[in-house]
């Protein structure tokens, strides 16, 4: 028996015989279960099965006992590997089976009751004991597979893949599957295909009344129309910005670059809020117009115009980021070639540069399209009567309707839209890249923009950049005035209301209204960030460095959660994790898990990009020198991956701080998140406090980003600053 197997077997026994098998209501880490360890709620599985009649936990012990027979055997024996596979598979299967079969009311399914008779017993959501045992079975199974020579015989790789697949299955595929199932059920849980058909063909979703009458169109058309508008708009603006930033002599390029960072640290609905403060009925601009030009204030901003404006502001930087890479990727030599073939600059731009950018433009469009569909915050605060799918889903669950089936149906439609776009992006664009960046140096100089393109780029980019700047000034100033639009006197009252700190005899007392959600947000984000980064980078390592059957499907699975809109994740988590076997709603854990699996794909991307630049022979050298995969990862790959680690940590932290769409379903009074709290304030019309809180969040994030950068540090390559003289050196020491 190998060391990892022995070690994990011990972990499995701790989980089975010592730790509480079921989830502890008051929280595991409160250790309230310690005094009443033998109680029916707190006891480990071993006690549960003998003392409390939960006999279905006994077979787990069998699966944990079987490997003990292997003590003293050499792990090279193929029989050992086979036994581990059998035990691991059987153990996992039994865990899942009993989890689903026995629920809060005994047998979970009617047919089981009629088959086996009433159970007269029940069980709750699984806890840390069950978690450890499940982990143990996964390790046994994967070690067995490695022992038979799968995954190059590497136990660490096999284990990593096993853990990633298991967690993604549990926290991405299972919830989405539950949404699909519940869409086909009525609200009593009976299978009702007819109802499903009528729901999915509902006039409210697919109606086209707005084309020929004054009535509203279906919500699906609304969402699509908005998404196409935003996709086109952000792509055009992004292209303009990129041309200015890369191909012109613009003097304030660095300021333009700041734009690319803004959307990362801005909670998504903050833009919407700022738009209200400017153009709302009592907004600053509206007031100016009515005072000086006599234009009556109206609510025109609530609806398509407002949402469109806010999403354009929010997502243009993303398109900008994509287009910078695309414009930079066009080889100047190609343009020079066109010029020497007697094409003038405009013709060159039109016939060479633009066509080369086509895949990039399509990519930017699809990103804007997906982001717009998935956006929840802006339509929520600005939508007015213009319903979109993401908000409809929310109101179907939260509002007076409380129709989970309807929410599930709407989720499926939204999911189909975003997944189609995601699929198109990967399948169609993935194969059709005109990237002209090669290993060869390109001696060409970028051709200056033709006058027409120059005019287009400047005419769009500069005004829009100014507008964006004004919006952010509004955000920062909004918290310091009495009431934006009406009374512009300086005040600190919003900040005091949110962040008041008092002193009592017990020490500091955080009496401001925002503190509770602020600390929760910070705590959850700090917990989620390293876990997200770790899982993302581990996945990237497996994807870049290992060959195994089914790798493409594995990659698609890990990237899938990127295309699932937050609202869909939120609703799916509520539906999936409200009842055993995994019962998490109302806990902080569900928030952490939600963040991990929503934000992991970006960590994976960053990791893949960085890891592809590190020569594979470096880790092979480490392996042949006798280091295990884990050691190799820790001592060789991680130090060289510092930039990617920083990027993943920052991104995971910031996204957790700013997320709203999924979170709003999962927060409770105990675990209130900042964004959900702010949205609540906005709905109550308390704009001052909301915007003050947002500014504070932005500042916290900037501080955190800087802090992470300092903590993780620079990677030490000891490379001379001059160009490396020997080509092999570049291969050996990874690109910067």
């Amino acid at each position: 028996m190998s060391r990892p197997v022995a070690w994990w077997l011990a972990v499995g026994w701790i989980g089975y015989a010592i730790l509480p098998w079921y989830a502890i209501e008051a929280g595991f880490w409160g250790f309230s279960w310690l005094p009443g360890w033998f109680d029916a709620n707190n006891a480990p599985a071993l006690v549960q099965s003998f003392a409390y009649g939960r006999w279905w936990l006994l077979p787990v012990a069998l699966a944990l006992l079987a490997p003990l027979a292997l003590l003293g055997w050499s792990k090279d024996e193929p029989g050992v590997a086979r036994l581990l596979i059998v035990v691991g598979t059987a153990g996992l299967a039994w865990l899942v089976l009993q989890g689903f079969a026995v629920g809060l009311k005994g047998w979970s399914f009617g047919w089981m009751e009629s088959l086996f008779g009433p159970l007269g017993n029940r069980q709750f959501g699984m806890g840390y004991g069950a978690l450890l045992v499940a982990g143990c079975f996964i390790v046994l199974l994967t070690q067995g597979l490695a022992g038979l020579g799968y995954f190059q015989g590497d136990g660490f790789t096999a284990g990593s893949i096993g853990v990633i697949i298991a967690t993604i299955a549990a926290f991405v595929f299972y919830p989405v599957f539950i949404v699909l199932v519940s869409a086909a059920q009525d609200n009593q849980g009976n299978f009702a295909p007819a109802l499903f058909v009528s729901k999915i063909l509902d006039q409210e979703i697919w109606g086209l009344d707005c084309v020929y009458s004054s009535l509203r169109c279906g919500v699906a058309w609304n969402s699509l129309f908005l998404a196409v508008l935003v996709g086109v708009g952000t792509t055009v603006l992004g292209l303009a910005f990129a041309l200015v930033a890369v191909r012109s002599g613009f003097r304030f390029k660095r300021i333009l670059r700041v734009l690319t960072v803004l959307p990362i640290i801005t909670p998504p609905f903050v833009i919407g809020l700022a738009v209200i403060l400017m153009f709302g009925r009592s907004g600053a601009v509206t007031m100016l117009l009515s005072e000086h030009f006599g234009i009556a204030p109206s609510r025109w901003i609530y609806g398509l115009p407002g949402v469109f404006m806010a999403q354009m502001l929010a997502f243009t930087p993303i398109a900008f980021l994509v287009m910078i890479g695309v414009v930079q990727g066009i080889s100047p030599s190609l343009e020079e070639a066109a010029l020497t073939l007697r094409a003038d600059r405009w013709r060159t731009f039109k016939t060479v540069s633009l066509p080369l950018m086509r895949p990039g433009l399509a990519n930017a469009f699809l990103l804007g399209f997906i982001e717009s569909l998935a956006d929840f915050g802006n339509p929520l605060v600005l939508g007015g009567n213009y319903d979109v799918l993401s908000t409809k889903i929310f109101f179907a669950v939260v509002g007076a309707q409380h129709d989970q089936g309807r929410a599930a149906v709407l989720s499926i439609i939204l999911l189909v839209f975003t997944l189609s776009a995601f699929y198109a992006q990967r399948q169609w664009l993935g194969k059709k890249s005109y990237a002209t960046v090669t290993g060869k140096g390109d001696a060409g100089l970028p051709v200056p923009l033709p006058a027409r393109a120059h005019l287009f780029a400047y005419g769009l980019a500069v005004p829009w950049a100014l507008f964006t700047a004004v919006v952010y000034v509004m955000i920062l100033l909004g918290g310091f005035v009495q009431s934006m639009g009406r009374n512009h006197d300086f005040t600190l009252r919003h900040y005091v209301a949110a962040f008041q700190v008092g002193w009592t005899e017990h020490g500091i007392h955080f009496s401001g209204a925002a503190w509770n959600s602020f600390w929760t947000t910070l705590e959850i984000s700090l917990l989620a960030a390293p876990l997200t980064a770790a899982l993302g980078l581990l996945t990237a390592y497996v994807l870049v460095r290992q060959k195994f059957a089914g790798k493409d499907a594995f990659e698609f699975g890990t990237m899938l959660s990127f295309a699932i809109p937050g609202t869909v994740i939120g609703i799916s988590y509520i539906l999936a994790f409200n009842t055993p076997p995994i019962e998490l709603t109302g806990t902080g854990v569900i928030l952490v898990i939600c963040f991990i699996f929503r934000n992991m794909p970006v960590g994976v991307r960053a990791g893949i990009a960085a890891m592809s630049q590190i020569d594979k022979s470096l880790d092979e050298a480490s392996l042949t020198l006798g280091a295990r995969s884990f050691t190799t990862m820790r001592r060789i790959i991680m130090p060289l991956l510092r930039p990617a680690v920083v990027a993943s940590l920052v991104y995971a932290f910031v996204r957790a701080m700013t997320a709203v769409s999924a979170v709003i379903f999962l927060v409770t009074a105990q675990y209130e998140m900042a964004t959900a709290y702010i949205v609540g304030r906005v709905e109550a019309g308390d704009y001052g406090l909301a915007i003050a809180y947002c500014s504070a969040l932005i500042v916290v994030m900037i501080v955190a980003i800087l802090l992470i950068q300092v903590l993780v540090g620079e990677r030490k390559l000891g490379r001379r600053s001059a160009a490396a003289p020997i080509s092999s050196e570049i291969q050996g020491s990874a690109a910067a």
């Binding site: 092979e620 050298a621 392996l623 001592r635």
Partner: protein
Amino acid sequence: MTVGTKAASVKFEGVTKAFGTVRAVDTVSFVVEPGTLATLLGPSGCGKTTTLRMIAGLELPTSGRILIGERDVSRIHATERDVSMVFQSYALFPHMTVLENVCYGLEVRGANAKEVKDRAREGLKLVSLEGYDSRMPSELSGGQQQRVAVARALVLEPQVLLFDEPLSNLDAKLRRRMREDIRELQQKLGLTAVYVTHDQAEALAVSDKVIVMHQGRIAQQGGPLDLYEAPDNLFVADFIGDANVVKGELSRSGARDHDAGPAIAMVRLGNLELLLPHRDVPDGPVDVAIRPQAVILATTRPGRTHLEGTISKAAYIGSHMEYEVSTPLGEMFVIDQATGRQQPRGRTVYITFGDRGVTVVKP
């Protein structure tokens, strides 16, 4: 403290490695005796690197057995094999100093810090790099990096030491010196070494045994002399040194067997008759490989049987002349050491062959 060795043999028994439907290595069997250096030689894509990586444990075979010493390692991961490898790109860890690089393998195997340092310094001394301890790899020249990589692999006293085209990133002069150094070190320490290269001169120069691979299979294995003088097939004849391959007619009847030496047969090339070892090739049409150096050109008609040809191309290379000669047997590539008398294009020449460098090729 010295760097010793635990040299073991390497044995492949019918090993196959398939990637999807492609068989990168196809039923390969060979033995590398302890303390010897064997070369895997072949053009790119022939499976030689995959074979090496299977010895290292970086790839596991699809079928067949691999033994190192007496141990079957077919299903054992690289980490758990006692094998170290020198990579084509050296794969020095760029964030560690030279000494840290050499210490790494000893450290992760859990030796104590003092011993690790001593052994690492010993290793650096072996490759004449004392005093470079605290340099970063990027501050070394290509040859020095190469030697650090060798030291790093050596200090673990592996059962087998592997080299993956270790010299391909060096310039021609340095390459010759490094290959001599590697060979010297291997013989001095009595290491078992397996060496991958696509350069046939390098292979002949350093090896006890050369394993020529072609399309995933072993084309021939043996000592350098065997391969060059008695190639088993056209591929080996052409790959190791150049060869003109011409069609001939073999018959045993016209030949007298000597008492000693190999069995001789008569080979007819056009109007030329040669006595060559028949190498168990049956009578009838046969391919004959002729080394360019074995072709003797003369401007006057020689006394013995000969071929007549015309110079169609001539190039002066400095150390020798290279010709293409049109003959009744086809175009022939000829190397002539006599740079003093250059033959102009169009000149008629008379061709005979030297004693060595002409051989029948097994079908």
